[in-house]
Symmetry: C2
Subunit: 445 residues, 2 copies
């Protein structure tokens, strides 16, 4: 049907691709402006990615970190949501093409975020597990629990060790937080569930190419995070890169090999770009944009957040791929669209760095505010929790998350150890399926 | 590996198939007795089935109605859990055969519960949706939301109506509660999400073969439940049976046809029986058991709950398939196993009917206590909530469920409207996939 059954009005139509941090903050700010806004997303919910690692480690339910997109904007007039996957853009015709039909736009905002980047390592792409979406986090939760069920069954000690070993690649916030959460599972939770397994044999390896964990943070924070990780039993391998993985053995650049049936890849992302835009509008998988978010050479097309590279003196490679950048860019573009409608001049984007933080475990976090104040330990942990609670969309999600955290804190437990949809993985030794194929063969009995 | 890697001891081994109400209450009661207990279940969690309808209608998250089985018994000595699907029993060799290997037993308890019974109606088995497990409830949640996304896209009014119509077959507690929950979604929630759809066109049909809703309850309760359903806009068709379904049109025995792309089947269950036991040990899909739960002709094999038919004067067809029966039978068998170990006489099972209840909507429930006290309305609703909260396993689940109910009550909302794993259904007119095939093709991007 024409234009996805969205009425044609005399308001200019802003089509936003992606309901992540950039997209939802843009649309919130456009409320009651003279635009028709259409949001396209392949999911019907917004994902709060910073807490996905807690879903994967049975600390939070998936429904706490996801929020229905239609509900966010239910008080907006002239707003339309369509669950659709965009395949291509035609800038000359001002149209996007989706799995449910074409759509004409007056302004197009590309806020598609990023996807996992395996840097061409085929073995990792095939047998490694990513953690960028709710289904991927749920798959990881299933795999972790299925590993221990399988370990209970085998009498082959080497096989059992492989099943109980975890290799996490990338010591950014995601990898660091996941390693800490796994270490807490190992110490406090899993030994009760599996009394016949010897948990001294469970190893958690964190591999990082740089010479410190949390590379973008200060020396102070990195040193403290490393100390926390080591005190919790995580084995950290700095200045180490993964070369290959065959589903049971991780090969690194240091002649070090690690036996592990689970490798979690948190070492890189790349912009999720669309087909149909000129090659010279992007660089290294991100759209080159000017200070008012316009994609190079394309007047009515904008890019925000992870998929945009706005180069400046302060950020010669573009801004870091962080939620804060996406949020601020979304708001700035919305204000510029409103200003343009009133024929006012556009405001260039200026990034206000509020700081970064990462939590390793209970009472163990590092935080840097405005890149000046450095906090660690219990205080950092409280700050981390406060910021993440406020970042969640919706009162219900915040409340349920807070209660889960309180219960987890006092019980030292993680109750959501459910294998709702087992992931099909063949026995080690046989050829394992990569996640793409695993997803096709998910059993849901 | 031999005996699923479970050590051989000189304690008698009790193998329990199924972690439902019967199985977990049996095992709880066997704590610290002189038995080795092995629980087999194809899931690693217990499912609180009475609240699955709230998962399907976005009121509760799946993780609140499921609880990890290992966690329930973590303080039991000589307890082993194995995630396994049992395919066959060999009573002569005292062995069960599973997808992960064989296991020898001294006592075998069959507590496999029930499965959906389509009574040979092929069209319903192919295109209808059941709701007996967490994945099935999640699939139903996805289908409901996907229907409205699809209805937003079509300009064909007949097609839109089919997508917005729901036919629920069976007005037992499950069907009645689901119909009420859908009516609340229609009234309070969905119109905000889909302002471009006309919700007067959404119909909820409840079809029942008997001449009243909630057939096992009293006239008083049935009449009140019917009144509640009708006041909420549910169209109830009594003395009506579904004859066939082709994925878009429901055919009944009354020359009445209803257009609907979604048919939810809550009209019948049958015992989930195993292969390998003699034919004359079962009748109508349930194992015939004596007053001490022993399956007819098989001394060391017991059956409990939905899969067992213990015929008596009061219950000539065996007990009703209710949680209460399963719980009480599990406890009685556990006590008998303990008595037998001390060479004491066995106690015959006596069912104590505590009553039945069903909720239709906010402040609208019916309850019968000890089959004497009849309650309805707000008081019945509070009682229903109290009983179901206490029935949930685990403090976290109870607390999170209570908070969700409070939030739902005050906000008139159901926030968990997430399509986490879309169910692949082809467009109406094309041949649709039955759930079995849908599950194989679930996309989880």
């Amino acid at each position: 049907m024409p234009n996805l059954n969205i009425p044609d009005t005399n308001l200019p139509r802003v089509v936003v691709i992606g309901g992540g941090f950039a997209g939802i903050n843009l649309i919130k700010e456009l409320k009651d402006s003279d635009h028709q806004v259409v949001l396209l997303d392949k999911h019907n919910y917004h994902t709060f990615q910073p807490l996905l690692y807690q879903v994967a480690t049975a600390g939070l339910e998936p429904d706490s970190v996801a929020y229905p997109l239609r509900n966010i904007f239910k008080k907006h007039r002239n707003f339309y949501f369509r669950m659709a996957e965009v395949s291509r853009v035609n800038p000359a015709r001002q149209e996007v093409y989706t799995n449910i039909g074409p759509l004409h736009y007056d302004h197009l905002v590309i806020a598609t975020g990023s996807e996992t980047n395996y840097f061409g390592i085929d073995g990792v792409a095939r047998d490694g597990l990513p953690m960028k979406s709710v289904p991927e986090a749920l798959n990881l939760r299933s795999v972790i629990l299925q590993n221990f069920e399988a370990a209970s069954l085998t009498t082959d000690l080497q096989e059992r060790e492989r099943l109980m070993n975890y290799v996490i690649v990338g010591a950014g916030p995601t990898g660091t937080e996941l390693a800490g959460a796994l270490a807490e599972l190992k110490t406090h939770v899993l030994p009760h569930d599996y009394p016949d397994l010897d948990f001294r044999r469970m190893s958690i390896h964190l591999i990082e190419m740089a010479d410190k964990v949390l590379p973008p943070m200060s020396e102070f924070s990195s040193r403290n995070a490393l100390k926390y990780l080591q005190s919790m039993g995580v084995q950290v391998w700095l200045e180490t890169a993964v070369k290959d993985y065959d589903g049971s053995m991780v090969h690194t650049n240091r002649e070090k090999t690690l036996p592990a049936s689970t490798l979690i890849w948190a070492a890189g992302v790349k912009g999720r770009v669309l087909e149909g835009l000129p090659e010279d509008s992007m660089e290294k998988g991100r759209y080159l944009v000017n200070e008012t978010h316009q994609v190079k050479g394309l007047e009515r097309i904008y890019a925000l957040g992870d998929v945009a590279a706005m180069k400046s003196e302060a950020y010669p490679q573009g801004h870091p791929m962080l939620a804060q950048v996406a949020i601020q860019q979304g708001k700035n573009l919305a204000n510029n669209l409103k200003r343009a409608a009133k024929s006012k001049g556009l405001r260039p984007f200026r990034y206000k760095d509020l700081g970064t933080m990462a939590t390793v475990g209970r009472n163990r976090a590092v935080a840097e505010l405005y890149n000046r104040f450095k906090v660690r330990g219990t205080l950092g942990w409280y700050m981390w929790m406060g910021v993440h609670l406020l970042g969640l969309v919706g009162f219900r999600n915040r409340l349920v998350t807070l209660f889960n955290w309180l219960i987890n804190y006092f019980s030292y437990d993680r109750k959501i150890r459910l294998i709702i949809r087992p992931v099909n993985r063949l026995k080690s030794g046989e050829k394992k399926l990569g996640l793409a194929q695993q997803e096709e063969t998910i059993q849901s009995t």
